[in-house]
């Protein structure tokens, strides 16, 4: 799993932050006050960042794959977009819960347990996050015009043959 140093590196590496309009929700008791003099913040008063962030598909994909590669139970060489967690990578349902917790920390959202049951490959995770952040530039649009043209062409071919 991610050690604190690697997590710090990751935090500095992700230069962009999403729009946070609500305080980050907690699923556990708020723990202790940080005694570090430089950041006198309670856990549930994390400062909000108002920078407007542009989420794109390559950004989400690279972040998710980096997070999975840093997980210590996954072999980074055998990790692909479509490699299944349980069958190919040999993970447990407990490991998927750990990955979901790390994803929640990385993307500053809550991921319900109902949704994390459907995470079978990294591609599912990326698709879920794209749906959450409304990213669809990577999807090819299916236009009604194209299909109509194909059907018209097929009908014309049939008419020529007859």
């Amino acid at each position: 799993m991610l050690s604190t140093t690697i997590r710090l590196l990751m935090r500095s590496g992700t230069l962009i932050r999403p729009i946070i309009t609500t305080v980050r929700p907690l699923s556990i008791k708020p723990t202790l006050i940080n005694f570090n003099e430089k950041r006198k913040t309670l856990i549930n008063e994390i400062p909000r960042r108002w920078s407007h962030v542009h989420y794109t598909y390559p950004m989400i994909e690279s972040r998710v794959m980096l997070l999975l590669r840093l997980f210590d139970k996954i072999d980074p060489n055998s990790l692909k977009l479509d490699s299944k967690f349980v069958q190919d990578l040999g993970l447990d349902s407990l490991d998927i819960v750990e990955i979901t917790a790390a994803l929640e920390d990385e993307f500053w959202t809550e991921i319900a347990d109902v949704d994390s049951d459907h995470f079978l490959t990294p591609r599912h995770i990326i698709q879920y996050l794209c749906d959450k952040y409304d990213i669809y530039e990577h999807i090819e649009p299916v236009s009604a015009g194209k299909e109509y043209l194909e059907e018209a062409k097929a009908a014309a071919d049939r008419a020529h043959h007859h």
Binding site: M1, S3, T4, S27, I28, K29, T31, L32, I33, N34, F35, I43, D92, S93, L94, V97, E98, T100, A101, D105, D113
Partner: protein
């Protein structure tokens, strides 16, 4: 058998512990924060996997209670390590020279607190250490 609700509760408990390990700050030993965070995460991993074959619903409920008790104690006493307990009265420590009676095992099982349910008592001196001593002498 294991129904979906129990499975959901177990995974929810595991997620709570993992989230706790991310945001844990150590009050008594500020320099050992990362050490205690790693301890919480590794203990959760070990104990959950050790008990994953348990099938009896009541046992699973007891283990869920154990997990929640550990979380409550860690948050209250600011200390993630479990508190060891003394042996119960009328029982002696496990020793390789003596055969333990069945009642002693039963008394020990009954009197152990809920937050030590997954831990086993260690024997006094293991056998291979005894053999090393005899080999040297």
């Amino acid at each position: 058998m294991i129904n979906n609700l129990t499975r959901f509760r177990v995974l929810q408990l595991y997620k709570r512990i993992i989230k706790l390990s991310h945001s844990w700050q150590s009050i008594n030993h500020p320099l050992k924060t990362s050490e205690e965070q790693l301890y919480i995460r590794n203990e959760a991993r070990e104990l959950f996997r050790k008990n994953q074959h348990v099938n009896n619903l009541n046992e699973i409920e007891e283990h869920i209670r154990e997990g929640e008790a550990r979380i409550e104690l860690a948050c209250h006493y600011k200390n993630p390590y479990p508190r060891p307990v003394n042996l119960p009265t009328y029982s002696l420590p496990p020793n390789h020279n003596r055969i333990r009676f069945k009642s002693e095992y039963e008394i020990e099982d009954i009197s152990r607190p809920i937050y030590l349910k997954s831990y086993e008592t260690k024997e006094d001196i293991p056998d291979n250490e005894e053999q090393l001593k005899t080999d040297k002498s």
